[in-house]
Symmetry: C2
């Protein structure tokens, strides 16, 4: 059986890039995989030793040569520049896709540089763990998860189908939407929660009166709630910078909702507080089944 | 071997009361346990059938007769009135303790009613799950958790020792502190996070543009982060009412911290944002080992 791709080049072989490499190989979608990363990267050497990739390269321009599939899984701030570096070494036909948590800013930078015969399909698999690096990669990472593709009017439809089939092969459900809608939705369900988690930890730590020690008394609720405050600050600053407008708007909505609740508390309007808590519980409980799918 | 207590009366045999009953029995600390709950309570009948308690009673005044240990594990709003109901049926010596998440409001109501020979030791085991009811009770619930006791200057020291030994028998680490300090700490590490979780779910749901559907795209972060928004609204409204001052103050601190972050974002001060995220990650990571103890 002919593989779907001759050569996949994966720029950034970490948790996401590494897990995708494992799946591409298991599903026999690709004849050979080249992993691309910084010179001296222990992660990249490990990817080679683990057999996650066949070849490694420290230069994007070298590593992508001859690839008919390029997957860009570097931190979100470096995605556009990595794609632009790759372009001049690629020969048509080739499909490029990425895994960034922000889509519009990347599309704006990349789309004007794409030559004929090279297709760019912006993507975002909604998957991850609090761990990083290829040693954390595993083959079922994308199973039963959602992968969002955000093609533009310029995106080649056949290339979208190709990337869609690749993600479906990982076990993901693929959804297509406008990049601006993606960025708005993600600012609500992912970016805001991370910002709130960081803010909560800082607010509690600054509360004084031994509140920092007090964290030692915190039960499971606080631990679950703040687990995402252990995420990479670099990554989240980049996301804030690249989705700033939506994030500031969502912080505003959150501030307004919190101010209303505080007002109810101050006014002893506990019926109002209860209605608000009940609404949240109802929403949270109703989304759980979807999350578990 | 003589048991430490002849009769324990547990008012409210749910997750906390039931788990404590299981431990008292396993550790052979008590000769007999009476569970007290509402008439027609399926939970109480189940507690009897499960053998969690020996006897059941639907009247506090009846059920506590002859008890030398009374544990009050009803919802926090009903703790003081339950204790006051019990008092007139108790004969000295008897130790009463409770498990409420707020301490000062309970002490203020209860302490002036306590007669000679009856001792009240306010307590709060920091343990729980998102489940409730005796069917969720289990013997290791308190193991390696912290239990806070908040005796006042009026509290009998021998009674504090008695309650301390009881909680130590469950595997908890017992800490003693002032009730006002307890309420302040808990407003920071537990009450504020619950309010923020409810608020976050409501803010995201109100974001419009299909953001509610968007929750279906949310990954593990959102799920973990908002699990506590599935907690009982009734319970959390009661806690808000009984610890209102501290909670409003903590909301204010949180608002200030969030406003500072928003200001940094608006001003493109991403170094400032990064410093703030790094601080939060450092704090969160440094408390993890204590939580795991």
């Amino acid at each position: 059986m002919t593989k779907q791709f001759k050569k996949a080049a994966i720029i950034g072989v970490g948790l996401i890039g590494g897990s995708l490499a494992l799946t591409l190989r298991q599903k026999k979608l690709v004849a050979s995989i080249t992993g691309i990363g910084r010179a001296g990267s222990a992660n990249l050497e490990l990817a080679k030793r683990m057999g996650v990739v066949d070849e490694v390269s420290h230069e994007i321009s070298e590593g992508v040569k001859g690839a008919d599939l390029v997957i860009v899984a570097v931190p979100v701030r470096k995605i556009a520049s990595s794609i632009i570096k790759a372009i001049s070494s690629l020969t048509a036909p080739c499909v490029i896709t990425d895994v960034g948590s922000v889509k519009k800013a990347i599309i704006l930078e990349v789309e004007r540089c794409i030559p004929a015969g090279i297709d760019f399909v912006p993507g975002h698999p909604i998957a991850g763990t609090e761990h990083s690096g290829v040693e954390s990669a595993f083959i079922s990472l994308f199973q039963n998860r959602v992968c969002i593709l955000t093609p533009t009017e310029k995106t080649n439809k056949a290339a979208v189908e190709t990337v869609k089939r690749m993600w479906e092969a990982t076990g993901s459900k693929v959804v297509t939407m406008d990049a601006a809608v993606h960025d708005r939705i993600l600012s609500a369900v992912s970016h805001l929660p991370h910002i709130i988690a960081y803010t909560l930890v800082n607010a509690v730590a600054d509360a004084g009166d031994g509140a920092l020690d007090a964290l030692n008394y915190s039960a499971g609720g606080f631990r679950d709630f703040t687990r995402i405050a252990s995420s990479s600050p670099e990554m989240w600053v980049d996301i804030c910078a690249m989705n700033k407008g939506n994030i500031i708007e969502m912080i505003g909505k959150f501030e307004k909702t919190l101010a209303e609740l505080k007002k109810q508390l101050v006014a002893d309007d506990f019926e109002g507080v209860k209605t608000s808590f009940e609404k949240a519980k109802h929403i949270r409980d109703s989304i759980t089944p979807a999350l578990k799918k």
